[in-house]
Subunit: 453 residues, 2 copies
């Protein structure tokens, strides 16, 4: 377990987030009003989101957006996070590749999600909002937002995907310990929840459904805004602190990554680690590969369609330009609950469409093989979501070995798995299986998509 | 949740552990052979412990003991740990006191236990040992030793107190993920386990019983040593990295603690944070208070007897001079499993006897009140064990407020509670109770003690 950490000081925490849209030649397509099919303005988003967040969402011009002092102060609770050279993993793989990971698991809630949670709670608080709502898959985002809501004195209701609510009771308890109210979704507390429970009795939930419920509650509650942990442009923006720090740390290590890898659910940790590196590809033509690792059971980037779609199951959100499996797609119950989302965010979808990045799909068992190896060689038990990035990094390292080439690999360890131990139990007991999407299921789920593009 | 962290660099990780015994006027009484009642030599301990550890155990002369490079390298995985000014907690308490905590929860296994686990595994490996055994209460020590065993390529069997095995399945899974074998204690795999199950069918276990089982297995296995996570002098020694770092960090903060507080099970995190500060009281007469916070249900320091006693339930260990409740004491099933031990280590017992430190007892509900307040003001969910230190710190802060005096309080946050969420669930549901030891139970448990001193 020999290791090498590259550490920054508090003063090195970035003072601005990086807005990649300013550097994109082809901008992401705009979100559309579902009725009129007209592009939305920030004002259209004000009922749902804090104004500053709505403005960030559609900002195509400012490359750097200043991080408010109040947010940066709270980042100091755990940032800058370490960059680690994974000597133990390299040795076990007997690879000529150099493997680095950015360790976002050291945050007080155990994942990168706090980077955006604090920003969103801050902007809500700043404009006088009292209540916020959100959804959560595996519970990482919900835990982070509970922490952030407590830090800024906001009330919070979290709709937690039912399968995760049951599989991950500890994350529910963490949210409650920070003072949040947690509701298993689908619930009877919203029209959207009642509808899907009527149509699909016993439905175990999905992020799409939970979003519908959280949006509905926010719209019907006075002085209340909705917040989202991924997918949207402003979330990607806040997460860029990861990659901005990692850039400096790779410089300290005297290397530059040939490939940057992250797991992919809606895109938040992926964008966070990769956009600051991608910047140099966009602006200087730097030769670097960016790889999203998604689960084989929810392969929107590798097998989905580039099309306008709703962000939620009930169709409450604007239409977003996404690589999508269709908003009514019901993913298999894999343990990487944070990756069970039908679509990719607008920016990432544009980048993928323009071949500025790649995607690979990872089978559940391969992700756990990678997780166990990583735990035993690097001493950190990774979240099932992050394990997809590790699996992809291991594939890259194997290719390097095959080709006998040195290759510098950087991946994001988005979170630890200390609260996901039941999944590990099932893995070691041989009770886990792979869930691949058949071509038939795929064409069925895509057939419902309205052809707008 | 405003905060201020005091951070050291890797080069500031101590290069030597502090051996307080060298500075004690009254040395701890020696361990005795139970048959002959004669003091033990290091050689007497060689069958059970690695030689270097046996030598450290009885070392009364060397003030500083060099930390092996291999161990210090592994410390770099997470050390130095932050010292944090708890502004949020201070504000909630409206106290003139300044409260600081040393955050040992940032280790990859979530507690301070890794400081000694790595040292013990290293010395075992160094002398060619292949297998090690140990016991664990709440699972913090077991998790740390599993990590350390994996780091040094040793096989490990852990006897885990049955009540914790059931209450804290995640910690069991963590040990298994790192490759350790975990057995619920009492088990049928040892003579000691069979005996107590025969005498007390359905017995839920104690650290004393688990130690007996681990010692028995080590004695009967070729090329195998036993390791312990607390109580013994060499464990206290390894933990002093905590206080040595904290001293430097308090200096950075421009303050010196009036009182240093830690929770108390066998004494490992307590000794770790306090001995380096106590040094200045012993050698320069510095005015500083040292406070151990133990559970009211297991009050060896506040209500136990200073006497020779066995370290384990079956009487396999040497006789140790301890504040003890008797080695057959069966503590109530509180959630702070790591504090459910009948005795205090030799050094701490001597210090307590000589009034060089104090002890307070904390009721279970008070510890959880403190934990919830800390989580909501500082953003870290503490382990139930560590919550006893927080409760004691809150008491000190309340006294400071009463007296209208500024007071500088330092406590050790020995671990996080992310894997103890069922305990929090029970607390929030109102299902937890206090367990105080009645005078009758106390005199009964003490009556079995042989009067040697």
């Amino acid at each position: 377990m020999s290791t090498k950490k590259f550490l920054l000081e508090e003063k090195d925490i970035p003072t601005a987030w990086y807005n990649i849209v300013a550097d994109m030649k082809n901008k992401p397509l705009p979100p559309l009003n579902p009725q009129t099919k007209q592009p939305l303005t920030p004002e259209d988003l004000y009922p749902l989101f804090a104004k500053k967040l709505a403005q960030q969402e559609l900002n195509e011009t400012d490359r750097w957006i200043e991080i408010p002092d109040e947010v940066r102060e709270l980042y100091k609770h755990w940032r800058p996070t370490p960059l680690v050279r994974a000597y133990g993993l390299e040795k076990a793989l007997d690879t000529p590749a150099h493997i680095y990971f950015k360790n976002e698991s050291v945050s007080p809630v155990g994942s990168h999600k706090l980077n955006s949670a604090l920003a969103q709670a801050y902007y809500c608080k700043e404009e006088g909002v009292k209540n916020i709502t959100t959804e959560t898959g595996a519970g990482q985002w919900g835990a982070a937002l509970s922490y952030a809501a407590k830090a800024f004195g906001l009330e919070l209701a979290v709709y937690m995907v039912k399968i995760s609510y049951e599989q991950k009771p500890y994350r529910r308890s963490i949210m409650q310990t920070f003072g949040a109210q947690v509701i298993a979704s689908p619930s009877m507390s919203t029209r959207a929840g009642r509808q899907i429970l009527t149509d699909h009795p016993g439905y175990q939930g999905s992020l799409g459904t939970a979003i519908s419920e959280a949006v509905e509650l926010a719209m019907q509650t006075p002085n209340c805004k909705y917040t989202l942990g991924s997918v949207l442009n402003h979330v990607m923006l806040h997460q860029t602190v990861i990659g901005l720090e990692a850039e400096k740390q790779m410089e300290m290590a005297g290397e530059y990554p040939d490939v940057v890898i992250a797991c992919f659910g809606g895109g938040s940790n992926f964008s966070g680690i990769s956009f600051p590196f991608l910047r140099h590809k966009l602006t200087e033509g730097k030769d670097i590969r960016i790889v999203a690792a998604e689960p084989a059971s929810c392969p929107k980037l590798t097998r989905g369609q580039f099309q306008y779609d709703f962000g939620d199951e009930a169709g409450y959100t604007p239409l977003l330009p996404m690589f999508t499996l269709g908003h009514s797609f019901s993913p298999a119950h894999i343990h990487a609950g944070g990756l069970r989302y039908h679509g990719a965010g607008s920016i990432v979808s544009r980048l993928k469409k323009d071949n500025l990045m790649e995607a690979v799909d990872i089978k559940q068992l391969d992700s756990f093989d990678a997780a166990a190896l990583f735990a035993r060689t690097e001493g950190i038990i990774p979240a099932p979501e992050s394990s997809h990035a590790i699996a992809a990094a291991i594939q890259e390292a194997a290719k390097a070995k095959e080709e006998g080439k040195r290759r510098t690999i950087l991946f994001n360890l988005s979170g630890h798995g200390l609260i996901d131990m039941t999944a590990y139990d099932q893995y070691f007991a041989g009770d886990l299986t792979n869930h691949e999407l058949s071509d038939e299921e795929l064409s069925k789920t895509l057939s419902g998509l309205e052809q707008i593009i």
